[in-house]
Amino acid sequence: MPRIAFIPPRQAGPELRRAYMRMRETMGTHGLAIAPQIMQSFSHRPNLLLAAAEGYRYAGWGGRLPRATRELVALLVSRENDCFY
């Protein structure tokens, strides 16, 4: 069970709702109303939610490195850290 109580999009106040909407645009979810739990974990700090989402976008999508190479880095860091996420 998460150690922080998430505020999901449907319960968000105006500032957080704007952050969720911006996050969806940033993450390219084709307008679908999804909010990954890792992003909801920042729901008490909309500025951090946006920083994390935009930072993730720049690292994961920007530039020219092939997608498979990026996924390999992510997978290996998770594996080596024994992180199940």
């Binding site: 998460p2 990954p36 951090l48 690292a59 920007g62 199940f84």
Partner: protein, 259 residues
């Protein structure tokens, strides 16, 4: 990457013979970033610069930093997966869940690379200002990789509830806890007695071992709200990213030309 190969890498079954030179170099770098990050140095990037060019190596560094951040936040908050079907306990269910999750994300997210056009000089100057310290000289190579400069800038945020003293404490705690050997990243070690210092120590060395009791002790000591705890987790995660990135970029990147 196809799901069969991804699974072999995830389970640690991929042999050096079946990896490309780039994959081998990435695995070596990632292992050191987890097992002995205190000893990371610019020389660790030389093989990647040779194989992927300066911008490719920097993009690997950004992903590495991004996922040291993400995995720490996930383990500090206690998020195991985005889908309930992804279970740690049974391998077949875990495998099925990971494939399903991958398929869902591929359907709902645009996975194509995109060009990033930003003023790198301005972003690095602003990153330096927020940090209150000079950036390592290797950051200058980010002029070849605007997305990496944008990542570093975006992740460097001011945390309102952590004053300078508290932020300094987290920063120093992460740097001091960084493992310098495999034993330090996997063994059992005495934790600092103070609850926040203990959380920073565990969150840095082996965040997957974070317990409700450790976080509860911090909340009892400081009376933090969820928002303040969020700041604390963000600080631990981002410091873990940048302690590694800064060591790798402690000197100008040499090797091939950009990109």
């Amino acid at each position: 990457m196809d799901s069969h190969r991804a699974e072999r890498f995830a389970e640690g079954l991929a042999t050096p013979e079946e990896m490309s030179p780039e994959e081998r170099a990435i695995e070596v770098l990632v292992k050191k970033s987890v097992r002995a990050p205190a000893r990371l140095e610019p020389a660790d990037l030389v093989p990647l610069v040779g194989l992927l060019g300066t911008s490719g190596a920097l993009e690997v560094v950004a992903m590495l930093g991004a996922f040291h951040f993400v995995t720490r936040v996930a383990d500090l908050v206690a998020i195991e997966s985005e889908l309930p079907i992804v279970q740690r306990r049974w391998r077949w269910l875990r495998s099925l869940g990971v494939r399903l999750q991958s398929r869902v994300f591929r359907r709902v997210m645009d996975l194509a690379n995109e060009a990033v056009e930003v003023d790198v000089r301005m972003l690095l100057a602003e990153t330096e200002r927020i940090r209150g310290a000079s950036l390592p000289s290797g950051y200058a190579a980010m002029h070849a990789s605007p997305n990496v400069a944008a990542w570093a800038y975006r992740m460097t945020v001011e945390l309102p509830s952590l004053d300078a003293a508290m932020l300094g404490r987290v920063t120093r705690g992460v740097a001091a806890a960084l493992p310098a050997s495999e034993d330090e990243s996997t063994g059992f070690h005495a934790r600092p007695p103070e609850p926040l210092d203990a959380l920073v120590f565990v969150g840095t060395r082996y965040a997957a071992r974070t317990t409700d009791e450790m976080v509860g002790a911090v909340l009892a000591a400081y009376g933090w709200s969820d928002a303040e705890l969020t700041d604390c987790f963000y600080a631990i995660g981002s410091r873990n990213a940048f302690e590694r990135v800064d060591r790798l970029l402690a000197a100008p990147l040499n090797g091939s030309s950009a990109g």
